[in-house]
Amino acid sequence: MTDRLRAEAEVQLSSWSVRGKVLAEFWHYFAQNKGAVAGLVLFIALVVMALLAPAIAPHPPNHQYRDALLTPPFWADGGTTTFLLGTDALGRDILSRLIHGARFSLFVGVVVVSIAVTGGVLIGLVAGFFRGWVDVFLMRIMDVILSFPSLLLALVLVAILGPGLVNAMIAIALVLQPHFARLTRAAVISELRREYVTSARVVGAGRLRLMFKTVLPNCLAPLIVQATLSFSNAILDAAALGFLGMGAQPPTPEWGTMLAEAREFILRAWWVVTFPGLAILVTVLAINLVGDGLRDALDPKLKRS
């Protein structure tokens, strides 16, 4: 009895230590890419900033300081340290709006990727497992979605659903989802030929178990890389929709919406335009840096290229 318990404990231990080793190896490859580490640090800083926004932001994001309209940033002529990055045309503090805006962008990324991954993986699993007409039917639908330029399809969906951040997220998730479906399907089809799947089948694993416990964990690497790419794409697309007036609506301090509101002042007040865009660029760049590092670390075929 005690022997059996000890044996089980050892198995447990070894599976934990195996996991630890895998993680350590992953980190070893990831950390070789200095850009990826920098991106990760930046990304964590952004997440912290978004979480603590109400505490960090020097002013409420929507408070209008009517006697300080279009104040330049503190280092420019006429700027004050009260408004470090200046104020917009309604006298709102730009820095505070940017800090609060990080919440929207990261939220958009998380929600969109969650919906797109869930939908895409399910469709890909079903198509890859069942093949035949189910596969053909599902993949043709994915082809149709992919034949529209993503932003155009998102715009049309928003026209149907009505403008707003939530609808923009649904639209973007729908547009990004076929990439996950295709990746999952391709990975499933190649994994199904492997021996471990056959042996699981022989032992009597049911279809659902085969799908989610046997095959899916082995398809994760490309999906994780794609998820990072989609995260940054979602942020860009949501900002673009906001910029075109079809995403988050004013006075929401969403970065794309802030740019749309700032457009008419571009030749008079450069700071209203510059900082929101810079925030988008830095966020997306940080995520893409992490994505490149993940690809190097997870996909040995593409490593060092």
């Binding site: 034949s147 330029p149 794309g256 840096l289």
Partner: protein, 335 residues
């Protein structure tokens, strides 16, 4: 090869049916009455409503409506825009050259810089140039191009005053449209300064639209070159004592270009999406601005027609790229 072509052609038919279904269902999915939607924002009298109902065919069963819709479309009838009162196809054909001209310039810009930069980065792998070029490429790839356009306007139009802010040519010039390409028409018109004006209007939109393709092409060229440079035949060529220039130009480049060409082809969808943003920033009278204006004007016949035409073009270009890829790479053909 014929089997390969037939297979690819067979795949596009269901895709095209899907595209038309999306466009067909679009006005019917909108909240509210589709007749009122297609008729425009102003209200209609009850008799006129009945008339429109019959005119748009909403009194018939839905599958019949779809067949009529596709039948009309195949004859080039995409409906009439309620804001311009002209056939959608005519408006599309009028505006398309503007988008095409901008896209061609953007692609030339992206290829002319992206491919040499990618090759050089791969050959000098790990060098300062490589790191700088890839850093710039990743930044370009992460760029919100609508903001990039505004920044360029602030710098080049606002501070320096070098380039105009919007449009295709200065209002001083007026000449008939022959090709629809402003640069060519300006040359043909023979008016002094017209060509220069057209080019100066093109510079900023070209940079903005070309930025993401440039970044993608540079990254793809670099990784394709690196892969090829590690191949045995390149090592053999080097061992034979061939000059590095010949090894790279003759052996490596040709093989590395195969995936790059595919990447270039696949940028068409990206260009259309980019055109929506670029054209709306620079008031460029092309398809992208037309679509976004029609969406905000609720001109849904135009949106419907534009969807099919744009997706159709993207689909056809992808098909051509696919076929070309099969032509130059037999491994794909025989899969």
């Amino acid at each position: 090869m014929l089997k390969f072509i037939a297979g690819r052609l067979g795949l596009i038919i269901p895709t095209f049916i899907g595209i038309t279904l999306v466009a067909f269902l679009f006005p019917r999915a909108l909240p509210g009455d589709p007749v009122l939607m297609l008729a425009g924002e102003r209200g209609v009298q009850p008799e006129r409503y009945q008339q429109l109902m019959v005119q748009f065919g909403f009194d018939r069963p839905i599958w019949e409506q779809y067949l009529v819709y596709v039948g009309n479309m195949l004859q080039g009838d995409f409906g009439v825009s309620f804001s311009t009162k002209r056939p959608v196809l005519d408006d599309f054909l009028n505006l398309f050259p503007a988008t095409l001209e901008l896209s061609i310039f953007a692609m030339i810009f992206a290829i002319a810089i992206g491919i040499p930069a990618g090759i050089l980065a791969a050959v000098k792998r790990g060098s300062v140039f490589d790191q700088a070029a890839m850093g710039v490429a990743l930044t370009g790839y992460s760029m919100p191009i609508f903001w990039w356009g505004l920044l360029l306007i602030i710098l080049f139009s606002g501070v320096l005053g070098w380039t105009p802010v919007s449009g295709r040519i200065s209002l001083m010039y007026f000449f008939p449209s022959v090709t629809g390409f402003m640069t060519i028409d300006a040359l043909l018109s023979g008016e002094p300064g017209a060509f220069k004006s057209a080019v100066s209007h093109l510079i900023l939109p070209t940079i903005v639209l070309g930025t993401i393709p440039l970044a993608v092409i540079a990254r793809q060229t670099r990784s394709a070159m690196l892969e090829v440079l590690a191949e045995d035949y390149v090592r053999t060529a080097r061992a034979k004592g061939m000059s590095p220039r010949r090894v790279i130009g003759l052996h490596a480049l040709r093989n590395a270009m195969i995936p790059v060409i595919t990447t270039i082809g696949l940028q068409v969808g990206v260009l259309f999406a980019g055109a929506i943003l670029t054209e709306s920033i620079f008031s460029w009278p092309g398809i992208g601005k037309w679509m976004i204006d029609s969406i905000s004007r609720r001109d849904y016949t135009v949106v419907q027609g534009g969807l099919v035409l744009i997706a159709g073009i993207v689909m056809l270009v992808n098909l051509v790229v696919d076929l070309l890829y099969g032509l130059i790479n037999p491994r794909i053909r025989h899969q």
